[in-house]
């Protein structure tokens, strides 16, 4: 769960970013027509749309820190954005499970059959971990929806080389079978 806190002098609300776990300013203690209040920074919220900072913003808003902007419309807009984000991004974004499964399957099958046990699993893990890193970067840059689309593209591109190795092995086995069958036919005089 993402955290937020108010800095020592009480002027700034900070939230932990999704990827680097750095603290980023999301709101400030400002003077409004109704007195001093914490006003959450809409620009920051829009910039980090659908990233985990949203959760902190949402939590801060629930705790009442969004109160007292001058006009009600702005407050309503804030509320709406917060609600949408809260519905969609209550948990940390995760890459598409089916794409992960596909990559895991292909990488597991496409690994060389060496003496090392669990080689396929190690390759699949390394590939999936790298794809997850790229996904998290994309979440920060372009939002979760587009990051998921990019993940699918990367997963399909990454599956093909492993699939080709697996298919090559299958073809070789089929070729051997064919040669074996021919030899058997020759030896048995058929």
């Amino acid at each position: 769960m993402t955290k937020y806190h108010i800095d020592e002098n009480g002027r700034t609300i900070l939230a932990e970013t999704f990827r680097n776990h750095e603290w980023k300013k999301i709101g400030e203690w400002v003077k409004t027509s109704r007195g001093m209040a914490y006003l959450l920074d809409e620009k920051v919220v829009l910039e980090t749309f659908k990233s985990r900072v949203w959760e902190a913003y949402y939590k801060a808003a629930q705790d009442g820190f969004y109160k007292a902007p001058e006009d009600g419309l702005k407050l309503k807009a804030h509320r709406q954005i917060v609600d949408e984000a809260g519905e969609e991004e209550s948990a940390a974004p995760s890459p598409p499970r089916l794409a992960e499964f596909l990559v895991g399957l292909c990488a597991g099958r496409g690994a060389r059959r060496g003496t090392q046990r669990g080689r396929g699993r190690a390759l699949a893990d390394a590939t999936l971990d790298d794809l997850q890193d790229l996904f998290e970067r994309d979440c920060e840059k372009v939002g979760v929806k587009r990051a998921r689309m990019r993940y699918w593209a990367a997963a399909l591109r990454s599956s093909w080389p492993f699939l080709r190795v697996a298919l090559g092995r299958l073809m070789a086995a089929a070729g051997l079978l064919k040669v074996g069958a021919g030899l058997w036919k020759f030896l048995s005089g058929g």
Binding site: T127, D129, D130
Partner: protein, 112 residues
């Protein structure tokens, strides 16, 4: 000892990035230096093949902090790998020698 162009690039990237050569860093290094971006899967499949030939070796990294704790694979070039790369680059250079390419790569100041 045939190396494909991707094999050459991977071996050079692994050499340059040691000891931090894994899928993404290798992929980005090739993108920066060679101008194309292989997929993560292509990098690992090719490195796996090179490891089978004994040209690189791999070690598992620490499990990541995410749920599930997957491990990265870090690659380093071996002595036979360096020899194979050297031979392959020498062959490429020998083949290119004497060719009149439209955009010849010359060291800076060579025309002066």
């Amino acid at each position: 000892m045939n190396l494909t162009q991707l094999d050459q690039h991977l071996l050079m990237a692994v050499m340059a990035l040691a000891p931090n050569a894994y899928g993404i860093t290798v992929m980005e290094h090739i993108e920066r230096r060679a101008g194309y971006k292989p997929s993560v899967g292509a990098v690992y499949a090719a490195l796996d093949k090179l490891e089978e030939k004994g040209f690189v070796s791999s070690r598992k990294g620490e499990p990541s902090k995410r749920p599930g704790g997957r491990r990265k694979l870090f690659f380093t070039i071996t002595a036979p790998g360096e020899r194979a790369l050297n031979e392959s680059l020498r062959a490429t250079k020998a083949l290119a020698r004497g060719l009149r390419l439209k955009e010849a790569f010359r060291p800076m100041g060579a025309l002066a």
